[in-house]
Subunit: 230 residues, 2 copies
């Protein structure tokens, strides 16, 4: 528990409406960042919160502070989950379940994914937070390898890379399961030592779904669309 832009102790309690607005801002920011990623404007967030931009800037000195308030704890929670997974009874299940948690959260939340790909917002603190996942993550992998589940010729960087590659497809749905479940299953079949330890593939998507997912995965900005072409 840290205090980033929280009200600092008891120094000056917020006025009722201000506190209310602060919550509205956090709620809206959480939603907007999740949907559109960290590139979303504070203006966008203000609008979504049904609040003026100035109100946002009064409560959070800048975008970094807002990002920090929203994501630092989320990352620490992931670190805790990694630690729990590393201590789970079956090392393979721990390994898989942590990948699932990471993917689920990153795919549901473009903002979180942006944090992991190293977006420039609140960079230092975020980098530090991410490193707090490291030890448990390494342990998770080492144990799954020591127990003969995870192939021994991969390292933690590989797992990270694979996790990020899969999450790059975003949270698109094909059938009723998210696509990442399917590609995680395939990746695990490539990572596990014996295939029979893995599960069946989740339902398959249509080609259209894939293509749509690829289109959105690279961000949704249209680049200026020819202003005065006469």
């Amino acid at each position: 528990m840290n205090e980033v832009a929280e009200d600092v102790g008891e120094e000056r309690p917020l006025r009722a409406d201000a506190a209310r607005n602060r919550e509205k801002i956090l709620t809206a920011a959480s939603r907007v960042f999740a949907e559109r990623g960290l590139d979303a404007t504070l203006d966008d967030i203000a609008e979504a919160a049904d609040v003026g931009v100035a109100t946002v800037y009064r409560r959070f000195p800048d975008k970094d502070a807002l990002v920090l308030a929203l994501f630092e704890d989320a990352i620490d929670e992931l670190a805790a989950l990694a630690a729990r997974a590393a201590a789970s009874e079956n090392s393979w299940e721990g390994f898989v379940s942590f990948l699932e948690v990471m993917l689920e959260r990153q795919c549901d939340n473009r903002g979180l994914r942006d944090v992991f790909t190293g977006s420039p917002y609140a960079q230092e603190r975020m980098e530090a937070a991410k490193q707090r996942i490291g030890p448990a993550f390494s342990a998770l992998i080492a144990r799954a390898q020591a127990d003969g589940y995870l192939r021994s010729d991969v390292n933690e960087g590989d797992i990270l890379a694979i996790e990020m590659m899969i999450s790059s497809l975003g949270g698109a749905k094909g059938g009723d399961a998210a696509l990442w479940r399917r590609y995680l299953a395939i990746a695990l079949d490539g990572l596990v030592v014996r295939r029979e330890w893995t599960r069946e593939l989740p339902p398959s998507p249509s080609l259209e779904v894939i293509i749509a997912a690829l289109h959105v995965s690279k961000g949704v900005h249209r680049p200026h669309a020819k202003p005065h072409a006469g």
Copy 2:
């Protein structure tokens, strides 16, 4: 072979210096798009070509035309390669070799990757060009499945998705081989029916390399960096 913004037949041969500049522009554009993706500015390209912006716009009516001139043939060549792979003796080798070609080109060329993720430049023609790969691609997969190499519970959308996910890591090098080779190998181990049909993993990268690759993979734009914070 099409003529996009080429000199139209014999109608008006370009002046010597103009023709020279046209080549310089194409060369520079090819390099700049490959390095920085289709978001690169025509101003960037002009600078790289050591030529004024106007010269670029005189030779290519707009960015779309330049993109088209550079990438349409490249995509048609990929279609031809897909057809050749689909006709190769061993269907698994054909399948793998086509994936390798796609990945190699997309990782060496951010612009080409942008085309495949559906960038808005020259969209229609590019979409049409990409569809010309489709039939051979499907055949490739169907044959690898029919021959019992490729697992039967995946479809062409899956393969496309996997190919794009891997290429999202870009052409970063870890050791001396490009990273995509390693992750393609793992993916193939998850896709093949019997593991002994696949090769060993290419050399492993360090964690730093992976992290660096993730950082660049999402584009290199710094978002404004706090202009007047006083």
